[in-house]
Every structure is written in C-alpha cells, then in structure tokens.
C-alpha cells in the first residue's frame, strides 16, 4: 500500500516529471513566460522553456538574463537558439539571443541540476520583467 502510494505520487508528478510537476509562470502582460518542471531528479537532463513577447525584442535581439543562483547550481548544456554573446554581471549573466522575426521568441535552456533540494532562481529580461522560479531536485 505504502509503495503503491509512492508510485502514484510519482505518476502524478510529485517525485519527478509528471502532470502535477509542470509549471507555467508568466510576467504581467505575458512579456516573459516560463514552462518547466517543479520536481526534478539530480543530474537529469531538463529544459526550461521561455517565451518572450515580440514587443520585448530590441533591434532583433532578446536580452535574456539568468540568475547566478541558477547558474551556480546547474550545468547549462546549451541554449536554443544559441546566444550571440554573453556578459557576466554580479547577479546575472546576460545572453544576447537573436529573436524570431514574427511573433514571440521561444528559448530553450537545456540544463542538468547539480544540487539536491530546493533551488530558487531568477530568469528575466534586461530592462524588463524578472520571474522568480523554483524547483526541487531529488537525489
């Protein structure tokens, strides 16, 4: 019975990927949106899917920034589309990413968590909104 409950929790997404684990977060006005899994596993390849509204594009580029807390605790495998440049700041690393010509720009951050437990971090746009996100990594 106890083990069945564990499996049911896992199937629901309380112990990893699953319907209850999926989170959608959005900044007011839908300028920046994020889709990711709340409950993840240690060193499991994951994706943070971001969408940036067309009105946040400057000169054909999106200025994305990822918080240091995130970058310190996960290993970024790659970012799609690949950033044209990146600059390090005290709290964030800024990525310059070429935007879609029409409509919103989708950005996928492929990463692997290198930590256990809860991680709170920020993802945002330079001179734009910032989202406070968190996930929990099980060993």
């Amino acid at each position: 019975m106890f083990f069945s409950l564990i499996l049911l929790s896992a199937a629901a997404g309380l112990l990893g990927k699953g319907p209850m684990s999926k989170v959608n977060a959005a900044a007011p006005g839908g300028i920046l949106g994020a889709e990711y899994y709340r409950f993840v596993h240690y060193q499991e390849p994951l994706e943070l899917n971001l969408s940036v509204a067309a009105n946040s594009v400057t000169n054909g580029f999106v200025h994305l920034r990822l918080g240091r807390a995130f970058l310190n605790e996960v290993q970024i495998e790659r970012i799609d589309p690949m950033p044209v440049s990146e600059t390090a700041g005290p709290k964030f690393i800024n990525y310059l990413i070429r935007a879609e010509i029409n409509g919103s720009t989708g950005i996928r951050v492929h990463f692997v968590p290198n930590h256990f437990g809860r991680l709170t971090y920020e993802v945002g746009l330079s001179e734009g909104p910032t989202l406070a996100l968190w996930h929990f990594a099980f060993h």
Binding site: I6, A12, S21, H41, Q43, E44, P45
Partner: protein, 151 residues
Amino acid sequence: MDSILRGLVIYFFLLLVFRVSGRRTLSKATTFDLVLLLIISEVTQQAMVDSDHSVTNAVLLILTLVLTSLGLSELKQHFPHFKYLLEGSSVMIVRNGKLLRERMNELRVDEDEILEAARASQGLESFEQIKYAFVEPNGEITLVPQDEEKG
C-alpha cells in the same frame, strides 16, 4: 512518470518476448543463451534508466517492476485464463512411450533432451519406460514413468 512508463513498457515487452520465443528459452541456457541474456539485461538497463541516474529513478523503477509482478501474480491467482495467457500450460510431448512430434517441434524439444530429463529425474533409459512427459510452463521437462509391470 517517465520512469514508471519506461519500466512498464520494458516489463511487458520482455514478458511478450519470452512468451513468444518459447518456454524452452528459459530453461535451455547454452553458452550463447547466457550471452544473449546478458546483452538483453544490459540493453534493458540502459532503456529503463535512460539518462536519469538518480536514486529516486532507481527506486521508482524497482517499485514499478516489483509491484507489476505482484499485481500480475494476484491476477493469475484470481483468473486462471490470465495465468494461461501469461505462462501457458503444461504440454504433453510423450504419451505411453510415443513421441508427439508435432508438439515437440512447436516447443523445439528434441529426443535427446527428453531422454536427458528422463535419466536425470527418474533414472529411465528409453522412451518405452516413459508413460507421460510434459514441458512445463517454466520450460522444464517432467516425466511420469510407466507402471512397474508395463515397464
């Protein structure tokens, strides 16, 4: 969720493979069969674990496999037809010393194997001494010797 699905798919796929490939695959482990089983286990392990090497994933996979197995055992106990579907039933291959060739071919059992089982389990030396021989669901060959006065 992914772990559970992967575990279930692999479990039922292996169940199907071994059911279709025949019961003798399980018991007749030649050197090549052993190598084949090792390869299958390695491939299975990779397919189930994927790129998630966390302890949680391992725990979930183990629970999935064990609980699925327990669940099927329960079903087999309550529904005999289900047991037959999963495991098959004993098949007679020798009746009163006569070989039932068609069944033997279906199960890929040859005369030497029957005699080997006869010698090992009953100390019998010829087919005339065997009343009945069966291939059991686990792939083993079992025998009933002829009555004393006949044999």
